[in-house]
Every structure is written in structure tokens, then in C-alpha cells.
């Protein structure tokens, strides 16, 4: 009788503030491992930092979910992937390249520099609002979520007054275990919304990304209106949900090790390094990046066959001790090597300069303005998102001392 190696079910259970424990053993014993998905299909998971970079930079792996063998990580995700027309993140070159290049100029260093003052203003205003209202506060809904929501609204030219709508649909679109109709319906409603917004921009142009896309791409015929709607809808969701979770989780990690929060009070210029450690440690895109091999590919002696699904796990790569010694130690003071929290290859996060800008302003500002900020509940009582592609807290109750100790 032939021994059959057990194929574990994916995804694995995880502790609240670390990747699944199972990934450590897999990384040591069998760095490319087959796992079984919800629908009975098998796929490879990639857990080593070097393999992660190699696979995501290799154009023999396709990102198109319509390609047979593409690994969908849950039924809700499959529903969205298979029934939606693909855009930016689900297209391979050269279609992808054309779309990406339409957007590259929106995220250059000079654009980010021009945005910095208004990001600072938003952060200052939200801190002032929390201080004025007094403790306690829900740091997630009162601060972490509004920041990227305001910023992406301004950038795209979306009225911030509609934030309840787009935040709700955004989080439904990224649901993991929901009924398969939930993300589809949310995405359809977001598209209707964006379609109306583009119509509005035709009548009343603004100094914003949607107007520029309309004038530079849609009207000259480089981009269809339907494609533009999908692209803008994607940017709106990608632009707020992710950064909001990072701001909240990053703050949580600092508050769980007070000394590190105090480091940022003493030296706000540490912010730049601190945010990289937050991105690495939390690696919030928790179910990885799906690809499918379009031909046989040898990765360190293991042949991945054409049609095999491959899931490159960001959290596993960012906790690979060969790239990041003591990966479980969150330490903003330590100089670490490059992480892959934003992915790698042609689909590496488009908005990362914006995410970095927002996080940098937050962590250079918040500790000094709220030096006594603290959790208002025990760490074990913090609720984490259990049903989301992008990990985060449900809410983050915080408190602070009023009067004497507070810088105003």
C-alpha cells in the first residue's frame, strides 16, 4: 500500500496576531505544499520569501481567474472572481500593463508630496475631534477608517458624505465566508454608484482622478466606460479598507508594547521604519495571492505543472526567518530587510505610496498628540475580523488621560 501524504485544508486557523502556526512547520519541511481548498480542488501554497518573489515576478503564472486551475480561496471569493468582468488585478500583461500605466502617474512621489498637507490636515482634524469628544473612543471607526476614506474620496473625487455606503459595500465585497451573492451584490451596487459619479463628472469636472480618467482615457477612446467604472470601483475599495486596518493594527501593536509607542513620542522620525515593521508583521492580505501556472515551472526543484493553482502567502513570506530573523518579534527599532506586504511582480500594490504616506503621517503625529493613548479593554477582548479577506479589528476601544498630561 502506498502511503498517501495528507493534504491539509486551506485556510489554516490563525492566532489573533500572528500567521497560522502550521505555516512554520510547512516552511521547514516542505516549502511548496499542496493544500485542499473549500471546493475539493488542490493548490500549492508558497511560504518562503524567495519563492514568493520568484513566483510573483514570473509571467508564466497568470492572475486571470477564468484560467482553468485558478485557486479560489472561498465560495464567496469564487463567486466574485468567476462572475465579475476582470479588471486591473485580474488581468495579465499586456492588458494589465496598459491599465496600470494609465494610473502610474497618479501615485508618483511628486503627487504624494502634493497630497501630504491635506493628509496631515485630515489626521489633525480627526485627532482634535477625538480629544474634544473625550474618552473612550472606537479608534477604528473614529480614526483609522475615516483617514483613508477621506483621502481616497478626495483623490478620486467621490463625495465623502457617501462614506457609509462605500465602506459598507467595500467590506461586503471583501467578505470571505459570506453567501456568494453578498460580494457580487455589493460590487454591482458600487459599480452603479461609480457609473453615476462618472456621469456627474461629465457635467461637472473636478480636479480629481475620475475626471482625469474621463478626459484623458475614456473620451479619447483608450478606455471603455465599463472598464473605467470597474477600475474606479476597485480603487475606492482598495484605497480605504486596507489602510484602515493597518492603522488600527499598527496602533494596537504599539499599545501592546508601550515602550515602542513612547519611542515614537520621543522621535517621530522613526515613523517611516515603524510603518514598514507594521506592514510586515501584520501582512493583512491574509489568504495570499492566487495565481495559476500556464506552463510547467520548476521552483527550487519542485515542478509546478501547467494548470496548477498557486497561492503565495504574504504572511508566511514576511515571517520567513531566513529573510526576517525573529519574525514574531514586533520591533519598530530594528532595521529589517524588505518585506512583501504589498505583493511582488507586476501586480504589486498600485496604491502603496498613498498607504505609506497616510501611515507615515499618522504615526509621526498621533503619539505626540495623544501620548497617553491606551487600550480601553483587555487585549484578549479585542474582536478581530473573522470573515474578511483583509484582516483587521472589528473595533478598537481606546482611552486616554484628559487634562494635565494631554498635549493640545
Amino acid at each position: 500500500m502506498i502511503a498517501v501524504a495528507e493534504v491539509p485544508a486551506f485556510p489554516f486557523e490563525r492566532p489573533p496576531l500572528a500567521p497560522p502556526v502550521a505555516l512554520d512547520q510547512i516552511r521547514r519541511n516542505e516549502p511548496l505544499k499542496k493544500v485542499r481548498l473549500w471546493n475539493g480542488a488542490d493548490a500549492w501554497i508558497v511560504v518562503r520569501h524567495d519563492d514568493f518573489r520568484a513566483i510573483l515576478a514570473d509571467n508564466r503564472f497568470s492572475v486571470n481567474p477564468l484560467h482553468p486551475g485558478y485557486p479560489n480561496v472561498s465560495e464567496a471569493r469564487a463567486s466574485l472572481m468567476l462572475k465579475e468582468e476582470p479588471t486591473l488585478v485580474r488581468l495579465d500583461p499586456p492588458e494589465h500593463t496598459a491599465l496600470r500605466r494609465m494610473l502610474a502617474k497618479e501615485f508618483t512621489p511628486s503627487r504624494m508630496l502634493a497630497l501630504r498637507a491635506s493628509v496631515q490636515e485630515t489626521v489633525d482634524r480627526l485627532i482634535a475631534d477625538m480629544l474634544e469628544k473625550g474618552p473612550p473612543a472606537d479608534f477604528y471607526h473614529d480614526f483609522a477608517l475615516p483617514i483613508p476614506s477621506v483621502v481616497i474620496s478626495q483623490m478620486l473625487g467621490v463625495p465623502y458624505d457617501d462614506h457609509h455606503f462605500f465602506q459598507d459595500r467595500g467590506s461586503k465585497k471583501l467578505a470571505f465566508n459570506a453567501h456568494p451573492d453578498v460580494p457580487l451584490k455589493a460590487a454591482a451596487e458600487m459599480r452603479d454608484y461609480m457609473d453615476r459619479l462618472i456621469t456627474e463628472k461629465e457635467r461637472k469636472p473636478g480636479d480629481d482622478l475620475v475626471t482625469r480618467l474621463l478626459h484623458d482615457q475614456i473620451q479619447p477612446g483608450h478606455l471603455s466606460r465599463e472598464e473605467a467604472v470597474r477600475l474606479c470601483e476597485f480603487l475606492l475599495v482598495a484605497g480605504h479598507e486596507t489602510t484602515a486596518n493597518m492603522i488600527a493594527l499598527g496602533t494596537l501593536s504599539l499599545l501592546l508594547d508601550r515602550e515602542q509607542y513612547d519611542c515614537l513620542i520621543a522621535d517621530p522620525s522613526l515613523s517611516g521604519r515603524a510603518i514598514e515593521e507594521m506592514l510586515r508583521f501584520h501582512s493583512i492580505v491574509q489568504y495570499g495571492l492566487s495565481r495559476v501556472a500556464t506552463e510547467d515551472v520548476d521552483i527550487n526543484g519542485q515542478v509546478i505543472r501547467a494548470g496548477d493553482g498557486v497561492i503565495s502567502l504574504i504572511n508566511a513570506a514576511n515571517w520567513d526567518p531566513s529573510a526576517h530573523p525573529d519574525p514574531d518579534r514586533f520591533d519598530i527599532r530594528k532595521k529589517r530587510s524588505m518585506h512583501v506586504a504589498f505583493g511582488f511582480g507586476v501586480h504589486q500594490c498600485l496604491g502603496q505610496p498613498l498607504a505609506r504616506l497616510e501611515m507615515d503621517v499618522v504615526f509621526a503625529t498621533l503619539p505626540n498628540r495623544m501620548p497617553t493613548l491606551d487600550l480601553a479593554v483587555a487585549a484578549k477582548d479585542i474582536e478581530f475580523k473573522q470573515d474578511a479577506l483583509v484582516y483587521g479589528v472589528e473595533r478598537l476601544p481606546v482611552t486616554w488621560q484628559t487634562g494635565g498630561g494631554q498635549a493640545q
Binding site: 510573483l56 515576478a57 500593463t97 496600470r100 500605466r101 494610473l103 502610474a104 502617474k105 497618479e106 501615485f107 508618483t108 512621489p109 511628486s110 524588505m338 505583493g343 511582488f344 511582480g345 507586476v346 504589486q348 498600485l350 502603496q352 505610496p353 505609506r356
Partner: protein, 64 residues
């Protein structure tokens, strides 16, 4: 030591600029890389190599 940039591959992810801002820039009109021209200082090799390593599409290479 010189840097060669392949503009057919560059997508303007800007990682070179993050890692070696003194040597790389992004074109404001296209977002694509503006690579340094000519010989680069040996003393700065580490950050230039880091910029090349960081490029997600491997559009940059070194010519000795």
C-alpha cells in the same frame, strides 16, 4: 557601475525611488522610472543594488 532600465517592463511602482531616492526618480507625466545616467559611485553600491532588488517587475539591472 551603471544602471540599465527597461521601460517596456517598468510599471512605475516606484520602489527604486523609495530605496535610492538620490539616484532614481519617476517621470511626472508617465509615472515610469527615470534612471541615473552614466557611472554611479561605488560607495553607494548597496542602496543602488537595493533599488534594483526592490523592483517588482525586474525592470532594472546593473552593468559593471
Amino acid at each position: 557601475m551603471k544602471v540599465i532600465a527597461d521601460l517596456n517592463i517598468c510599471i512605475g511602482a516606484g520602489q527604486c525611488v523609495v530605496n535610492a531616492p538620490d539616484f532614481f526618480a519617476q517621470d511626472d507625466d508617465t509615472g515610469l522610472v527615470v534612471a541615473p545616467i552614466g557611472d554611479l559611485p561605488e560607495a553607494r553600491r548597496e542602496e543602488i543594488e537595493m533599488a534594483i532588488y526592490a523592483c517588482p517587475t525586474r525592470a532594472l539591472s546593473l552593468s559593471e
